[in-house]
């Protein structure tokens, strides 16, 4: 009897969560699909976004994301490898680094925005620019990315580490040929979390990359990210709802595409050498 009640209860939870997600998604698709066209994707917004498209905004979004990932991925992998392979496992420094990263991972994005504004825009003089925004997002996604990759690397069996060492293999080639490929699902997970967080970010970008909706001429130009655009359309522009929905749909599709891309990139880099039963 108790089992049956529990069964009903957890099924209800699952149903509630899944259906609300489906609702959100369906809402975005139904409302957005009417506004989507090739023209919408490639032309500049007009009349504060009520008309026209999102061309420059897509370009800015991709630049910001590219900068964020180009900085966060190599740096994050480096930190993760150091934490799991080189640092003393039970050292004080590792412990405090992990705690710091966990706290940073939970810091609200607006705090990163303020930091990015103060450091990149003002102190380094980058102003409101794609570069400031990208670097701020890099800071924001680094902690989660590092921790995910580190956990993945730590989960790799020590048998392979000692096996490689006992064969006279250097640690770097053990890391490159065995540990990273085995940990690649975690790296993908970290990337997807990072991409999702960065692409959907609004607050941190308002202070750093700004909300100019022109086509950026260089990385030092201000540029409006898609999420900022959606925020602006739905909050500040009356009659912008249709365009907001269409942009939201583009955002969802963009994230899905980027995730697939990340998955296949990592697979082709690392998994190529693995042969699993």
């Amino acid at each position: 009897m108790a089992d049956r009640v529990l069964g009903w209860l957890v099924s209800a939870c699952a149903l509630l969560v899944v259906s609300s997600l489906v609702w959100v998604l369906a809402d975005v698709v139904i409302e957005g699909v009417a506004h989507i066209s090739w023209q919408f994707l490639f032309t500049a917004p007009e009349d504060a976004g009520r008309a026209g498209g999102i061309g420059p905004i897509l370009v800015s979004t991709l630049w910001i994301l590219l900068i964020a990932l180009a900085v966060a991925v190599p740096l994050g992998l480096g930190v993760a490898i150091w934490l799991s392979e080189f640092a003393h496992r039970h050292g004080h420094f590792v412990g405090s680094a992990q705690i710091t990263l966990d706290i940073l991972a939970g810091v609200p994005s607006i705090v990163y925005g303020l930091f990015g504004n103060a450091f990149f825009s003002v102190y380094l003089g980058l102003g409101f620019s794609l570069l400031s925004g990208g670097l701020t997002l890099a800071c924001m996604i680094l902690p989660v990315f590092v921790r995910t990759c580190e956990t993945g690397l730590r989960a790799v069996s020590d048998d392979w580490r000692s096996g490689a060492l006992a064969l006279g293999m250097s640690r770097s080639s053990a890391i490159w040929h065995i540990l990273l490929p085995v940990a690649s699902p975690a790296i993908v997970a970290g990337l997807i979390l990072g991409i999702g967080r960065a692409t959907a970010e609004t607050a941190a970008l308002l202070f750093t990359s700004g909300y100019v909706d022109r086509m950026p001429g260089s990385l030092l130009d201000s540029g409006r990210a898609l999420a900022v655009h959606i925020y602006d359309l739905s909050m500040n522009v009356t009659g912008g709802d249709g365009a907001a929905y269409a942009s939201a749909l583009v955002l969802v599709l963009l994230i899905m595409m980027l995730n697939t891309l990340a998955q296949s990139l990592v697979d082709s880099w690392f998994k190529r050498s693995l042969v699993l039963p």
Binding site: D159, W160, L167, G168, M169, S273, L274, V275
Partner: protein, 281 residues
Amino acid sequence: MSKNASRHIMPPYTLRDIEQGTPCCVPEPVLQVRNLDVSYGEKTVLAQVSLDIYKGCITALIGPSGCGKTTFLSTLNRLTDHQERAHVSGQILFDGQDLLGDPIDTLKLRRRIGMIFQKPNPFPLSIWRNLELPLKEHGVRDRDVRRRKIEQAFRDVGLWDEVSGRLHTSALALSGGQQQRLCIARALVLEPEILLMDEPCSALDPISSAVVEELILRLQGRYTVVIVTHNLAQARRVANYAGFFWMTERVGKLIEFGQCQALFDRPGHALTAAYISGAKG
């Protein structure tokens, strides 16, 4: 129970000539261990171990769990370097060099002193690549040379006929015994002089275990083998020399060392006698 027994009996093994029994080969020491101490942090795990490992012979290290046999083994290829807080002192002479005192290229050393672990640990790569990777790592650039060496190694461990049709499938799909033989082939492909084996059969089923044991016997003469085993019958079957480790006052010590047959037939130490008769351990 070991406290009372160990207090009033003879001291642990100290280095002396091996007199009993007939030598398996010319007893030419290839590794000379002198006064080896190993500690992890504050905890001493192995104290004052001195023994010779003879070229071309199989030396079995026996004794109960936790008495430092595996630790001893991993000092010989300096795998202890990678264990946190491990401190090793004493002397291990190999080819005119002190492995503990002289500057040693550990990567080259480990090519000459291979190691097999208790749990088979083939890499999650293809069967072929498992052997190719270490060869490449040690600078064997010529593809044909690699091919020849890899095939030879697989033949040496009797695995060639079993894997030649599936060289590019995953090594993890092999059975436990096959995996362990693959690991032995992976060590042999580097043409080491010494093979360290840490309970290589204990994770295998009886049949695979017998196959691996037979393989170890065939290595005798061509390679120097040091094997840690809990299986006394196995030690007796394969080894030329045997060392008996025991914990006294929570520190691992080498109690007795000698010709394997002699050690089993006429143990020179009360602890050894008790251990091999099953009264202790």
